[in-house]
């Protein structure tokens, strides 16, 4: 099987990041079409497509769209999540860097559908190169009348602002991102049922639609070709295509767009095959449980990966070969979450740092056998009890690594050194 390109269909067209080239390839025709449809028709089309959120959680997109109140008693906002921070993921970077108008068109259509006049695209501070491309493209779109007042004479207004982060993984979490846009510390906010959904009370307590770059980038094609067309791809519950950011020990790392349900091993082949002997795959970014090589005979869609004990996540597909020491790799993972924990809630703030301290002690040769169960128990104490998903995400990979590679931990603790001692190759 080969790639199936929807989002990437025109990505190799030279100059597609420029408005006139994008228009030559059908750009903004979806917007024109959408403006001719009723708002509900647009939402219904997204519903028919079966599109699910590509940010990591896989929540059906149309439910969010449809959840926005249908009146204009308050301002409505579109919040595009371009804070790609999940380790192993770099698809949004490419979508913005090389295909900015596709995203902008998607955002405008979303804005139209939910009666919004203002959108914010939250780009992480490190992504200055994509942000500059987006800036240029937005300016072009304003000049051409796709943004601003009275879009294409339709009477619809929509302003799109770039809001840049400043270095925080947590801000990729949608409610923390709202905090960040509102000028606060990037800490998460209460969620349903403790507070109304963002679609009712999001930014400044107004209805807010929050979608990921990849999700919104799918919208123009869905409107152009119809939801049914999109739903015809992929599996029944995981429709369409998905971009996987393949990195690590493969010969041709990069972004690959494949149909949902593609076998994992085929994606590996697309990426030029594994360098060395495959040890494990982390299929959805650092937050998802690790998948050992022997379990890699699985299809890439939400349901299949879940039944294999992991998740599709953001599509950050990291490939590890047999030179990787799981203990050291997981120490790095734990350190990442400890560094990025916002500090708001007890389990994540204290638990993530504690785990790093235990890992450091093990790596320094001071491990005790009971540390393995202690790590597992700390994972249990964080998982499900933290304020937001970051805590869960810190616990899952470590728990899974112990489940699958307990022997490596035991070896390390017993011998004070890694089982995978290949000079210069193992994780430092």
């Amino acid at each position: 099987m080969a790639e199936l390109k929807v989002l990437f269909k025109d990505i190799d067209v030279p100059g597609i990041e420029r408005l006139e080239v994008y228009e030559q390839h059908g750009g903004y025709s979806a917007l024109r079409k959408a403006l001719g449809m009723t708002r509900q028709q647009v939402i219904d089309e997204v519903k028919a497509s079966g599109l699910r959120g590509r940010g990591g959680a896989g929540f059906p997109a149309w439910i969010k769209w449809n959840g926005i109140p249908k009146d204009e008693s308050q301002p409505h906002y579109v919040q595009c999540n371009a804070d790609e921070g999940e380790p192993g993921t770099f698809k949004d970077r490419e979508l913005m860097l090389r295909h900015p108008h596709q995203l902008i068109e998607g955002i405008i259509i979303a804005g139209y559908a939910i009666l919004s006049k203002v959108g914010y695209i939250y780009i992480r501070g490190e992504y200055t190169e994509p942000a500059r491309v987006m800036r240029r493209a937005i300016d072009e779109a304003y000049r051409a009348g796709y943004l601003g007042k009275n879009i294409l004479g339709s009477g619809v207004d929509f302003d799109l602002y770039i809001h840049m982060g400043a270095g925080s993984y947590e801000c990729g979490e949608e409610s923390a991102m709202m905090s960040s846009i509102m000028g606060e510390r990037g800490q998460p906010r209460l969620k349903f049922p403790h507070a109304p959904l963002p679609t009712i009370a999001g930014l400044w307590n107004c209805p807010t639609l929050i979608n990921n770059v990849e999700t919104l980038s799918c919208v123009p094609a869905i409107i152009r070709n119809g939801g049914a067309w999109y739903a015809s791809m992929g599996t029944e519950k995981s429709t369409g295509t998905k971009i996987f950011s393949v990195s690590g020990h493969v010969n041709k790392p990069g972004n690959y767009e494949v149909e949902m349900g593609t076998p994992l091993m085929e994606l590996l082949e697309l990426a030029g095959g594994v360098k060395g002997k495959l040890k494990a795959v982390i299929p959805g970014g650092s937050s998802v449980p690790i998948l050992p090589a022997e379990k890699c005979d699985v299809n890439l869609d939400y349901e299949s990966l879940q039944s294999a004990g992991t998740m599709l996540g953001s599509g950050g597909f990291m490939v590890l070969n047999d030179t990787v020491c799981i203990v050291k790799f997981m120490r790095r993972t734990a350190a990442f979450y400890a560094h990025e924990s916002c500090g708001k809630c007890t389990p994540c703030r204290e638990g993530t740092r504690w785990m790093v301290k235990i890992f450091d002690r093990i790596l320094a040769g001071g491990g005790r056998m009971e540390d393995i169960d202690l790590l597992l128990d700390i994972c249990d104490q964080i998982d499900g009890r933290s304020y937001c998903g970051l805590g869960d995400a810190a616990a899952w990979p470590i728990r899974a690594s112990i489940q699958h590679y307990r022997h490596e931990y035991e070896y390390y603790i017993k011998h004070g050194r890694s089982m995978v001692e290949v000079e210069g190759k193992a994780v430092a």
């Binding site: 703030r349 933290s386 304020y387």
Partner: protein, 760 residues
């Protein structure tokens, strides 16, 4: 008010009905189910709560078929709103494990210095660990190390190692006090509470953060290492530092005050205290208290017995009255006395001495009775209850820096804006701390002294707008007002006051029903007080706030019992209950009650007494609880008066500057050493109780002193207790009839102004 919608929920198998949306942690209290917590606080917004994760419960919803669908994760009960069919379990094995886990996490970096921690013994972290925590810790790594015992200010000490990051203090400083001086820095496990760049924590409400802190991270510098909580006793009391009447606890060890804590009273201070209140009662246990009466002999004070002192005072009083008439005697004081004492003081002067020369006012304006407010709005000083401030639509703060002058009223004002979205107008000639606590309030930066013009200008605009409630004024009054206002065009007012026309218009647009005016010292002491207050009354009436609960005019008072002293008739021209001494019928009623004839001529007010004394006319000046040489608005006059008065008696806690002039000094008991009632600025009568004994048996409550002095004057005013006296007060001033101790509810009573009308 609309009926609250009730929903049926189930907690641990017990079905109960609670208001929809109530937090489950509160619902659980209703059936006595304990849910441990750290960060939750009912007065702090729930938006920033749920971070300690201690109050986790398992929750689900009842399905139509009767089964329960459980939520996959445990939920924080402090933010979980009650909804129909919600099912909650607070004590499952999973929850027990979760609580152990959270406590283990909290303790891994928490120093175990409980033996020397001021929170020890009343520490939620200790308590929750005892009941819900793990017996041992599995943490063998190095704990976090940060500076310990770091003084953030003269009041607050911060120990960052002990902090459990519950965010109560930061939320308080951002949501309640509004100064936002405390915030978390950094993130993750490095997160720590701090002021900006470790500068001084200057909030006027910093003490509350000490009480809010669930561990010993924020502690009181004054209370530091002074007592263990279990060694202390507590007594209910009222703060004496301003007229707000905040409810406090006095925590004491034998005969010594060690700290002050806020006491809940929804109607007054909710549970907050200002720093002046919290840290300003040290005087009670000062070593410099007077311990016995003093008599001046050969220019020096010598210790004397009460009998000697009373004889001396009584003989001078008798002599003065005999030789110069009762008008040659005067008494100043009352604003720091309890109602009972104030009542007895004026009764002593009127009945035993026979003079109306009595006044409690030390400020510039000692306006003759029948003040505009009383005459036109039917209230002595304030129209609205403190709690009603939060319901106002527009707050108009005129010439007052509330943060400084009336801190707890400020908290209500801020709540009105922060929680309920009231508009805020602040008129003040200078930048005030108050205005910094609101986001972009309307600011009228008028020129010093132009308040009257400003209000007239606003009246002009209100009348012009057509929204004025003109029926609130009699038509001829309205006409003359309109005529007199014609000169106050926006351009002229703008020129005179320095406030831009657009701002004047913006302000006028905000004025209407639900406009609540708050004034304090600057208005009370205004040179054109009567005209200014007249204009404010017109504004109140014309905006339809003549008799509203969430709108009206409020002139806040300076001292703890300024209101009570006025109520009790510590005024030269008024008897208890605001009846004029010149009103024969009213006076006769009082004569009957007191079984004696009363002088019909109004007496001298403070200013007149002091002037008379300064000129050597006043034979005896009796100063009770006021350091007039220091605090009178014209201290020079006060000093001259004290020098030239024939005989000076000072009754106080300390040898004040005023007392230095005295011939006899009488040591009085502090608020902690006696009982009684105070009436706060919203005319709420509240009780306080005796906590401990005075520092010496020779120190007496003012009530006893007045009663005993009356005996020495040969006109006994038998008093057995403050309680009994309150019953008499109820007869003298029927509005206080509901304030008898057996009737007075814990939150006190705002006396009804309608009884003032009946009186007339």
């Amino acid at each position: 008010m609309a009926q609250e919608e009730l929903v049926t929920i189930e907690i641990n198998g017990i079905e109960l009905q609670v208001p929809k949306g109530e937090m489950i942690i509160e619902s659980a209290k209703r059936i006595g189910v304990d849910i441990p917590f750290f960060c939750y606080h009912p007065r702090l917004g729930k938006g920033q709560a749920a971070n300690c994760r201690m109050c986790l419960v398992e929750a689900g919803t009842k399905q139509p078929d009767g089964s329960v669908r459980m939520m996959p994760k445990p939920q924080t009960s402090c933010t979980l709103p009650a909804s129909q069919g919600l099912v909650v379990f607070t004590d499952t094995v999973a929850i027990q494990k979760a609580r152990r886990g959270i406590l283990e996490f909290l303790l891994i970096n928490h120093p175990l210095d409980c033996p020397i921690c001021d929170r020890g013994g009343e520490c939620p972290l200790q308590n929750n660990t005892l009941f819900y925590g793990p017996a041992v810790s599995r943490f063998i790594e190095e704990k976090r190390h940060l500076p310990k015992a770091f003084p953030l200010s003269d009041y607050v000490v911060l120990d960052r190692e002990r902090c459990i990051h519950c965010a109560r203090c930061t939320r308080f400083s951002q949501e309640i006090s509004g100064d936002a001086q405390l915030e978390f820095l950094k993130r993750g496990a490095d997160m720590m509470v701090s002021t900006f760049q470790d500068t001084e924590f200057t909030s006027r409400f910093s003490g509350n953060t000490i009480e809010l802190c669930p561990v010993g991270a924020l502690t009181s510098r004054a209370y530091r290492f002074r007592a263990r909580p279990w060694d202390m006793k507590s007594q209910k009391s009222i703060c004496t530092r301003c007229s707000n009447g905040c409810n406090i606890w006095l925590d004491y060890r034998p005969n010594r005050l060690v700290r002050v804590l806020g006491r809940e009273n929804e109607a007054v201070n909710e549970e907050w205290t200002c720093d002046r209140g919290k840290f300003g009662h040290e005087y009670i246990s000062s070593d410099r208290r007077l311990l016995s009466p003093l008599i001046r002999r050969d220019g020096k004070f010598v210790t004397a017995s009460w009998v000697e002192a009373y004889h001396l005072i009584a003989s001078h009083l008798r002599q003065a009255v005999a030789e110069h008439g009762a008008q040659s005697v005067g008494a100043i004081g009352g604003a720091h006395l309890s109602n009972e004492e104030a009542y007895l003081l004026q009764k002593l002067m009127r009945v035993a001495v026979g003079t109306n020369n009595i006044d409690h006012r030390l400020e510039r304006n000692q306006v003759a009775g029948g003040d505009t407010l009383l005459a036109r709005l039917g209230v002595p000083f304030t129209q609205n209850a403190i709690a009603d401030i939060e319901r106002a639509k527009t707050l108009f703060i005129l010439g007052a820096d509330l943060v400084d002058e009336q801190p707890i009223v400020f908290l209500r004002a801020r709540k009105a804006w922060f929680r309920f979205g009231a508009n805020v107008i602040i008129a003040h000639p200078e930048v005030t701390e108050t205005e910094l606590r609101f986001d972009e309030p309307v600011i009228l930066r008028y020129r010093e002294g132009t308040e009257k013009t400003l209000i007239h200008g606003l009246l002009y605009l209100v009348l012009q707008s057509g929204k004025a409630v003109t029926s609130a004024l009699p038509s001829e009054e309205l006409q003359s007002l309109q005529a007199s206002l014609s000169a106050y065009t926006p351009s002229r007012v703008s020129q005179e006051t320095g406030v831009a026309e657009s701002v004047l218009r913006e302000t006028a647009d905000l004025l209407g029903e639900g406009t609540l005016v708050l004034c304090a010292g600057r208005v009370r002491n205004h040179p054109e007080y009567a005209e200014l207050v007249g204009a404010l009354v017109n504004l109140t009436l014309l905006t339809g706030n003549g008799a509203r609960e969430n709108g009206g005019l409020n002139i806040l008072l300076p001292e703890v019992n300024s209101h009570g002293a006025a109520d009790m008739g510590v005024l030269p021209d008024m008897l208890p209950g605001y009846v004029r001494v010149s009103d024969t019928t009213a006076r006769q009623r009082m004569e009957k009650l007191w079984e004696t004839a009363l002088p019909a001529e109004p007496g001298l007010n403070t200013q007149a007494m002091l002037e008379s004394a300064a000129e050597g006319h006043l034979q005896v000046l009796y100063v009770v609880g006021e350091d007039i040489a220091h605090k009178y608005h014209d201290p020079d006059l006060a000093r001259r008066a004290l020098e030239n008065a024939g005989f000076v008696v000072v009754q106080d806690l300390f040898l004040t500057e005023t007392a230095q002039y005295a011939d006899v000094v009488l040591p009085a008991a502090s608020v902690a050493e006696k009982e009684g009632t105070f009436t706060n600025t919203e005319r709420r009568v509240q009780r306080f109780w005796k906590a401990f004994n005075a520092p010496s048996p020779e120190v007496k409550p003012d009530l006893n002193i007045f009663a005993e002095l009356a005996v020495y004057l040969g006109k006994p005013l038998p008093v057995f207790s403050a309680e009994q006296l309150m019953e008499e007060i109820g007869q003298a001033f029927p509005a206080y009839a509901h304030c008898c101790y057996d009737q007075l509810p814990p939150e006190g009573v705002r006396w009804q102004t309608t009884s003032l009308g009946e009186e007339e």
